[in-house]
């Protein structure tokens, strides 16, 4: 197995400013809030930002920071919001934050599902019904069996995630199941069909499944034994392809700064400023992980 690069090295740009394609910025449609920074109750082997239970290198967001970002987002006419982490439900005021964001626009929560019990599912349901805009919940599940899932998400997690999905289902919600193609068997079209059938078997009436390619940075790089360093976007990207890239109309905000995208949370050169306005400018495809978006069509959006 190849030796993994240290984390910092993995997120350094592989191209210079001059070498990399520029992605024009079309305005801020999607705002990602890194609600709990890198704090997570799991330490998945494929995590591209290497989150974990003791990881506070990116801090939890304060309510004042969230308010400031939302005020700016309102002025900029943001279309949709995503709450992510780490595990966003670990935020001490998670449901208050969710309710607040939903007043402003449609919101998707990306969760591992571990904290979804009957009470939490009921709160999601209540917000789903009451909010002015659409609420979506995305639960990560990396296999249809404990053996397939637990090898990456941790021992015993399959049963707990499925319990969370059941709770949502009983509350009348149909979460999106997010599956990372961490093994060859999950990357095929047939796997998608099997997963949809599996989602139905969990009681989801309107099942949706989102497959995500592996991003070869962070712990994900170690998991696959592959480094992104040999990959880079060296050819010009056609205008149509540019427009479908997340970085053309989306940004990630943390407690401390605003970044190019959720994948480049750790990349020092991906910091665009502290405010959304400062980040309202073109970026360049300098990182190895950019190849995943350009060539494999990765979009973190649902």
């Amino acid at each position: 197995m190849p030796v993994a690069l240290p984390l910092l090295e993995q997120v350094l740009p592989v191209l210079t400013e001059a070498e990399a394609c520029e992605v024009p910025f079309q305005g801020l449609d999607t705002l990602w809030l890194q609600l709990t920074g890198t704090l997570c109750n799991l330490a998945c082997r494929h995590c591209f930002i290497s989150c974990g239970p003791h990881d506070d290198r990116v801090p939890v967001m304060s309510l004042s920071r969230i308010e400031a970002l939302l005020a700016e987002a309102e002025e900029l006419g943001v279309k949709e919001y995503y709450l992510t982490g780490g595990e966003p439900m670990l935020h001490p005021a998670f449901f208050d934050v969710l309710e607040r964001v939903l007043k402003q626009g449609p919101t998707t929560v990306l969760t591992n599902g571990l904290l979804i019990d009957e009470v939490a599912a009921g709160r999601f349901r209540s917000l789903f019904e009451r909010a002015a805009y659409s609420l979506d919940v995305r639960v990560s599940l990396d296999g249809m069996t404990a053996a397939e899932n637990d090898v990456v998400r941790g021992r015993g997690t399959f049963a707990r995630i499925v319990a969370g999905i059941h709770a949502l289902s009983r509350a009348g919600l149909s979460p999106v199941l997010t599956v990372v193609e961490h093994s060859a068997g999950l990357a095929a079209e047939a796997a998608r069909q099997r997963f949809l059938a599996f989602a139905r078997s969990l009681g989801l009436k309107q099942p949706r499944v989102k497959f995500l390619p592996l991003v070869r940075i962070g712990r994900g790089a170690r998991h696959t034994g592959r480094q992104g360093a040999e990959e880079a976007v060296r050819e010009p990207v056609p205008a149509e392809g540019m427009a479908s890239l997340q970085c053309s109309n989306s940004r990630l905000a943390t407690e401390q700064d605003v970044r190019v995208c959720p994948i480049l949370l750790d990349a020092p050169h991906a910091r665009l400023g502290q405010t959304l306005r400062e980040a309202h400018r073109p970026v360049r495809l300098r990182w190895a992980s950019c190849a995943t978006c350009v060539y494999e069509g990765l979009s973190c959006r649902t």
Partner: protein, 264 residues
């Protein structure tokens, strides 16, 4: 007292020539002095060629939807961009049928349609688009189009009133705040609005000192359409939608809020 004027605006004909005739009749009865169509003339329904003479005979102002662009240019698919394989399957059936049955003589017409229509009503700048003014295939759903975003669209595209279609579900919103603004998704007349009713919806705009919109349901002979669809070998799932008012395909595009209101 300013003169009161009425305009009818509809979208998503989807080859439903029977609904098209019913809507035009309804609009005339209600005194619409001009009629606008926000594109997507084909797809889903039978005999795509039948809608063109109707639109031309009635002097309907038509703009270009993504389907019209694709058929007019002979593209290999509708560019709907579904990811669900089931949705893609039905989208392909629908597109292949429509492409094969749209006479070549109508292709230049489809290509010639404008992407946007601008006009002025009661001093208000009115902008009509298929999906959104910035992208022909952008969906503007009620639950995923926040006020701030709609305000931005109006600002960026110099409009006070924005009329769109593409998503197939009608809604309207008058934007709060100083800038104001009215956004109307006129829905689609080609198939029901996933509400368990067989009627289809269009928008009637009333203009005096301001612009107001009313979303109007229209009944038509859906049994006859279903019969024609069966005769043309169109999928039973499409026929079911026409007869029940519930969408059976292409559901993945619906936001969770809108989808939860449907049967599937």
């Amino acid at each position: 007292m300013p003169h009161l004027r009425r305009y009818a605006v509809f979208g998503g004909v989807y080859s439903n020539h029977l609904a098209l005739e019913a809507v035009l009749k309804d609009a005339a009865r209600r005194g619409a002095e001009a009629v606008y169509c926000l594109g997507d003339l084909g797809g889903f329904g039978p005999h795509p060629d039948r809608v063109f003479p109707i639109l031309l005979d009635h002097g309907v102002h038509v703009l270009q939807g993504n389907y019209d662009y694709a058929i007019g240019h002979g593209l290999p698919d509708c560019g709907c961009g579904y990811t669900d394989p089931r949705d893609n399957h039905y989208a392909r059936l629908s597109y292949n049928y429509t492409r094969a049955r749209t006479s070549e003589r109508w292709w230049p017409y489809l290509r010639s349609l404008p992407p946007l229509i601008r006009t002025e009503w009661a001093g208000q700048r009115v902008l009509m688009a298929h999906g959104s003014p910035r992208r022909v295939n952008e969906f503007l759903w009620e639950s995923t189009s926040p006020d701030a975003f709609l305000r931005r669209l109006l600002r960026d595209h110099q409009a006070d009133v924005l009329l769109v279609s593409h998503s197939g579900l009608p809604w309207q919103r008058r934007l709060p705040g100083e800038q104001g603004g009215l956004v109307v998704n006129v829905g689609a007349i080609g198939r029901p609005a996933n509400d368990g009713r067989t009627e289809v919806w269009y928008a009637l705009l009333t203009v005096d000192t301001e612009v107001r919109a009313e979303l109007v349901p229209v009944a038509y002979d859906e049994e006859r359409l279903a019969h024609e669809m069966r005769q043309e070998g169109l999928p039973q799932e499409f026929v079911e939608t026409i007869l029940t008012g519930w969408w059976t395909t292409c559901l993945e595009i619906l936001p969770p809020r809108e989808r939860s209101r449907g049967r599937f």
